[in-house]
């Protein structure tokens, strides 16, 4: 089973009902797998802040929303994270493509890679890096449950090779 399929299996197992996304190359591959799910509604957003609010809306309405975006898109989301997710204490699970880390072969992503974890730390966003050698689905379930239990955000960082 591909890493993308294992991640989506984790979303399904965690009860995620809606995945809102702005794609990049990696997230786009993941969303193609989401679209094959009969349990998760895929929602294509034009901008990442919208995806966060859409997922929050699903959560407020009794479902479980997730946000699938690139790290550059996460950088756009400081306002909505502070003014919606944190302020109203809404669970919000993110799968974020970690562009520009040492596993990313594309040179122009490097500046984003350098500031990803410092930004997550500065914004006090709980996060984990996916470990493809371990149970990816279980990592997703733990992340969703962490968001639910803390009534706040949780970010799972993935790389392209995690989808293979």
């Amino acid at each position: 089973m591909s890493g993308a399929r294992r991640i989506v299996a984790g979303l399904e197992a965690a009860g995620v009902t809606l995945a809102a996304s702005v794609p990049d190359t990696w997230i786009g591959r993941l969303m193609e797998t989401v679209r094959g799910s009969t349990k998760i509604r895929a929602v294509d957003a034009a901008r990442e802040e919208e995806a966060v609010a859409i997922a929050c809306g699903a959560n407020l309405a009794g479902g479980r929303g997730a946000v699938l975006i690139q790290n550059a898109g996460l950088f756009n989301c400081g306002g909505v994270l502070a003014g919606l997710v944190e302020l109203y204490r809404i669970p919000c699970f993110f799968v974020v493509s970690y562009r520009g880390d040492r596993r990313d072969p594309v040179y122009y992503h490097a500046p984003k890679g350098r500031v990803t974890e410092p930004t997550l730390s500065a914004w006090r966003l709980p996060f984990a890096r996916a470990d493809r050698a371990a149970d990816l689905a279980a990592q997703v379930v733990r992340g969703v449950e962490s968001a639910v239990e803390s009534r706040g955000p949780f970010v799972l960082l993935i790389s392209g090779e995690d989808l293979e």
Binding site: T17, L18, A20, R41, V43, D44, A45, A46, R47, E49, E50, A51, V52, A53, I54, A55, C56, G57, A58, N59, L60, A61, G62, G63, G65, G79, V80, A82, G83, L84, L87, Y88, R89, I90
Partner: protein
């Protein structure tokens, strides 16, 4: 154009038990606790531009409810792209009311950039099929049922008077209170 409060009162009077209300920050959110809203209501006090996508998430999760979103022109000018997102998702149970007064009312009444934005054309151009302009209580009372029955995402562009001396009540509910009370049966 009409002052905001009579329009808001007319809207609240038209809500049914099948509706859910989501409000942007500012005057709408500050008036709502004083209007005996008969449906679940989620009011923002921050996060400009979040009302419509929040309502979209609720609408997709709960197709048995009609979700009414209140948004301001300052907020939507920051993120008009959300209309394309709504158009793509095509929920038949989402009506947004865009309150147009040309000012950032909640942050001190500063004027928006002075471009003559054609909100009706913008919404239609981004794929919203049902768009109507409303400028008084009578047209709101006529247009809102049409929007709710449209079977597709609808936007009502509501022209309201900007009055810097309008006695808007202060926020009277905290976010944790709003969050705790918001339940959709």
């Amino acid at each position: 154009m009409t002052p905001r409060k009579p329009l808001l009162e007319a809207l609240v009077a038209m809500l049914t038990p099948a509706d859910v209300l989501v409000s942007c920050l500012g005057a709408n959110a500050r008036y709502l606790p004083h209007l005996a809203v008969p449906v679940p209501a989620f009011a923002l006090c921050d996060s400009m531009g979040a009302a419509i996508p929040l309502a979209l998430g609720i609408a997709l999760q709960r197709p048995d409810r009609h979700v009414v979103a209140l948004e301001g022109d300052g907020s939507l000018l920051m993120s008009p792209n959300v209309l394309a997102t709504v158009a793509a998702a095509r929920p038949g149970n989402l009506t947004a009311l865009l309150w147009v007064n040309g000012h950032y009312e909640s942050s001190g009444g500063q004027a928006l950039p002075s471009a003559p934005v054609d909100w009706v054309a913008l919404a239609k151009g981004l794929g919203i099929g049902h768009v109507e302009r409303v400028d008084d209580v009578a047209t709101l009372r006529a247009a809102f049922p049409r929007a709710r029955a449209a079977g597709e995402p609808a936007l009502l562009v509501v022209d309201v008077v900007f009055d810097p001396n309008e006695p808007i009540p202060p926020y009277s509910e905290r976010p944790d209170e709003i969050r705790a009370r918001f339940r959709i049966a």
